[in-house]
């Protein structure tokens, strides 16, 4: 994924710094609680939500099982409609294709529709290195780009910023990228939105090349679909002469009838709207209307490897609604940046270590960035059992095992730094599988109860820093039972 995330510290360290940032925690708490409450109301309006959810899951699972078939069908339909399909195995290949296509137009500026796939491959940075400037046109992405910041939420990338911070970013940075912010800009949402509108309008009217992702691709007709709330996407999709769409291969759905399910699931889960304000669909090219050149870059970048894992593959059902982020108590405290990826929160914790592998410190720590409370699974509109995948990936980290990387089955060794834990788990299992030893340990702990320290050393320190330890009782339950009931019955 994006090079800007290279060398991220492990999740616990990044999260510890975020927890101390009271402004950040305040911003996140306010935003996530507002969205989660609205979502709960929007979902409660539908009597058949659980059936819709099951349908969404079933369609995605069926499509993933026959992904090769639907992708070939999609390519045929896109080509027949006048588009060109490119296949990219990884980020470098996708970036090279897009750079080549932009250069072929002779342009050095592009306008962008908010897209997770292009964030994932670090497209803006790759284009910049080739002298091409990419302008983000989604309001929140614009805030992140102007602030030389990183996105911290899938749907609301600038969720970690409050109005006052956004005003300062607009005031100081807009001029460097184009039309400056109006004099005396306040932090009222209407004024901020108007400043962004004026700044962006210039870019829409000038750009000859647009770059987008897609929320869905319909295999039967070769149609791409973007749902959005601001209308900037429609500008980018219709005004330029050339449109390049970079889309993950898992975004395909077989038919328009399947699409109907997701157009109900997505808006209620993400923005708590009954229907999203703008649904744009495009199929190849149309004479004298819209972009005259259309390129679709189909991105793998670890998806086929993820598909090979029977438990982990359910992460590919994700429709990027971010409902799981908005209910996650860990995300709420740690913030999106701590996840070291464009995919933060619970879904990021299972997606990133699969797309990127678990070799880096941050990726090996992500499966542990959860208390397994299950709130994410409960809200997921395509029923991804995120806790199940988290535990599955934890096993991969501590025990190693067989995984698919670049299409080849390889055997992973256990990650470093778990040796002491592994030994402790083995010892615990041995004691627990020998109740006599367990009882002896309990008795020893009871006899020495007056000597137990109030503050623990080592890993236990993390416990006693903020919590008082329970006192060891004089007698275990086991001993009480034996004393009063005369042993086993």
């Amino acid at each position: 994924m994006s090079g800007t995330y290279l060398g991220m510290p492990a999740f616990p360290r990044a999260a510890r710094d975020a927890v101390r940032d009271t402004t950040l925690r305040g911003n996140l708490r306010h935003a996530t609680h507002t969205i989660r409450d609205k979502r709960a109301r929007a979902v409660a309006e539908l009597a058949d939500w659980q059936e819709l959810r099951a349908a969404g899951k079933a369609i995605k699972d069926r499509t993933l099982r026959h992904l090769d078939h639907y992708l070939v069908r999609l390519e045929e339909a896109v080509t027949a409609a006048g588009g060109t399909v490119h296949w990219a195995a990884d980020a470098a290949e996708a970036n090279a294709i897009v750079t080549y296509l932009v250069k072929a137009t002779g342009e050095s500026e592009v306008v962008k529709v908010k897209s997770m796939a292009t964030q994932e491959i670090g497209l803006n940075e790759a284009l910049e290195a080739e002298g091409i400037r990419a302008y983000e046109t989604d309001l929140a992405e614009l805030i992140v780009q102007l602030g030389e910041d990183r996105p911290s939420h899938i749907l609301v990338p600038a969720i970690h910023r409050n109005r006052a911070e956004i005003r300062d970013i607009f005031d100081q940075e807009m001029g460097r990228w184009g039309r400056p912010a109006p004099e005396g800009l306040s932090d009222s949402p209407a004024e901020l939105a108007e400043a962004a509108r004026l700044h962006l309008r210039e870019k829409f009217l000038r750009a000859k090349v647009g770059i987008s992702g897609a929320n869905f691709m319909v295999a039967e007709t070769g149609t791409l679909v973007v749902v959005e709330s601001e209308g900037n996407g429609r500008m980018c999709l219709t005004l330029p002469e050339t449109l390049i769409s970079v889309v993950g291969i898992e975004k395909v759905v077989p038919t328009w009838q399947d699409l109907e399910v997701f157009l109900q699931l997505l808006p209620r889960s993400s923005t708590a709207e009954r229907m999203n304000p703008y649904t744009s669909t495009w199929t190849g090219t149309t004479d004298s209307d819209g972009p005259q050149n259309f390129h679709l870059v189909l991105l793998d970048n670890g998806r086929t490897d993820t598909l090979a894992d029977e438990v982990g593959r359910q992460a590919l059902r994700c429709i990027r609604c971010s409902a799981c982020l908005n209910v996650c108590p860990v995300y709420e405290r740690a913030g999106g940046h701590a996840y070291g990826s464009v995919y933060p929160g619970p879904i990021g914790a299972i997606l990133s270590p699969q797309l990127r592998g678990t070799a880096s410190e941050i990726d090996a720590s992500l499966p542990y960035a959860s208390s397994l409370c299950g709130a994410c699974y409960e809200v997921c509109p395509v029923a991804i059992d995120i806790p199940e995948v988290l535990v599955h990936l934890r096993e991969r980290v501590v025990q190693g095992g067989e995984v698919t990387r670049n299409g080849v089955k390889v055997t992973l060794r256990p990650a470093k730094g778990h040796a002491a834990e592994r030994a402790a788990m083995r010892a615990a299992r041995w004691a627990l599988d020998h109740p006599g030893a367990l009882r002896a340990g309990q008795r020893l702990a009871s006899r020495t109860r007056r000597l137990h320290p109030k503050r623990l050393p080592g890993p236990g320190r993390a416990w006693t820093d903020t919590r008082t330890l329970p006192e060891v009782p004089e007698e275990s339950f086991r001993d009480w039972w034996q004393r009063t009931r005369g042993g086993d019955r």
Binding site: R16, S371, L372, E395, M425, D433, P459, P470, F477
Partner: protein, 251 residues
């Protein structure tokens, strides 16, 4: 009806009061309850930390220890959830790894007879008024595994509402995780502590004298946080509230 108590390793070692209360409560309701000494731990700490293979002997042990019983009752939502949700997974994975059907069969025997205490009271015994007396203000924190994996829904509340003298106080943000999460509390100490502090603040805001759950492991984290904050709220397991009567009050 042969009923066994699965007391859990945490209750056995640190909270024997909860086990004693469970026995007292069930016997008062006319259930003869046994404690098979061959039992130990459900394997949750190992499984949830990624050591699935270390849990396998504990699945076999659970199956053997409770083989002759019709019901296994446990005063722990997360341990009941471990058996019901994860034992079948452990069995299926062992079979998929070519190690035979033995663990899957053990799981299939364990799952249908394992009940969290409030499920057993409400669903099997069919009681919501257990004749308890607890003259204090209480707030209830529904623990995540009880709430979302077992789907206990309003069972604990219905039991609490029938306790004589008890005044139930609504807990703000009740369904949010307290931040315990087993080894999560140590591995992600800062986030866990922040979640615990928010939960403790919510509990304190109710003005209740006691906070209760169906899980002592969550209560250990919540109670430890409250104590460190100097809060006077007492952590109490639901079983201990239900076991208390006017003749034998909670002490």
């Amino acid at each position: 009806m042969r009923v066994a108590l699965f007391v859990t390793c945490v209750n056995d070692t640190l909270y024997p009061r909860t086990g004693r209360a469970t026995v007292r409560l069930l016997e008062r309701l006319g259930v003869r309850v046994d404690f098979p000494a061959a039992q130990s731990c459900c394997g949750q700490p190992q499984f949830n930390t990624g050591y699935r293979h270390e849990t396998e002997p504990l699945v076999r042990r659970f199956d053997r220890a409770f083989a002759e019983y019709d019901y296994v009752v446990t005063p722990s939502g997360s341990c009941a959830a471990m058996v019901r949700d994860n034992y079948p997974r452990i069995g299926a994975k062992a079979a998929a790894e070519g190690r035979g059907p033995e663990l899957a069969e053990a799981a299939a025997r364990a799952v249908p007879k394992t009940y969290e205490l409030t499920e057993f009271l409400v669903d099997v015994l069919g009681v919501t008024d257990v004749g308890a007396y607890f003259p204090y203000t209480v707030t209830y924190h529904p623990t995540c595994h009880g709430l979302r994996v077992l789907g206990l829904r309003d069972r604990p509340r219905r039991l609490l509402e029938h306790v004589k003298g008890l005044e139930l106080r609504e807990l703000p943000g009740a369904e949010e995780c307290c931040g315990f999460g087993g080894t999560f509390a140590v591995k992600n100490a800062a986030v866990s502590a922040a979640m615990g502090a928010d939960k403790a603040r919510g509990i304190e805001s109710t003005g209740a004298e006691a906070v209760c759950t169906v899980d002592n492991s969550c209560l250990m984290h919540i109670g430890g946080t409250l104590a460190r904050r100097g809060a006077a709220v007492r952590p109490v397991h639901l079983a201990e509230i239900l076991a208390a009567t006017e003749e034998e009050p909670y002490a």
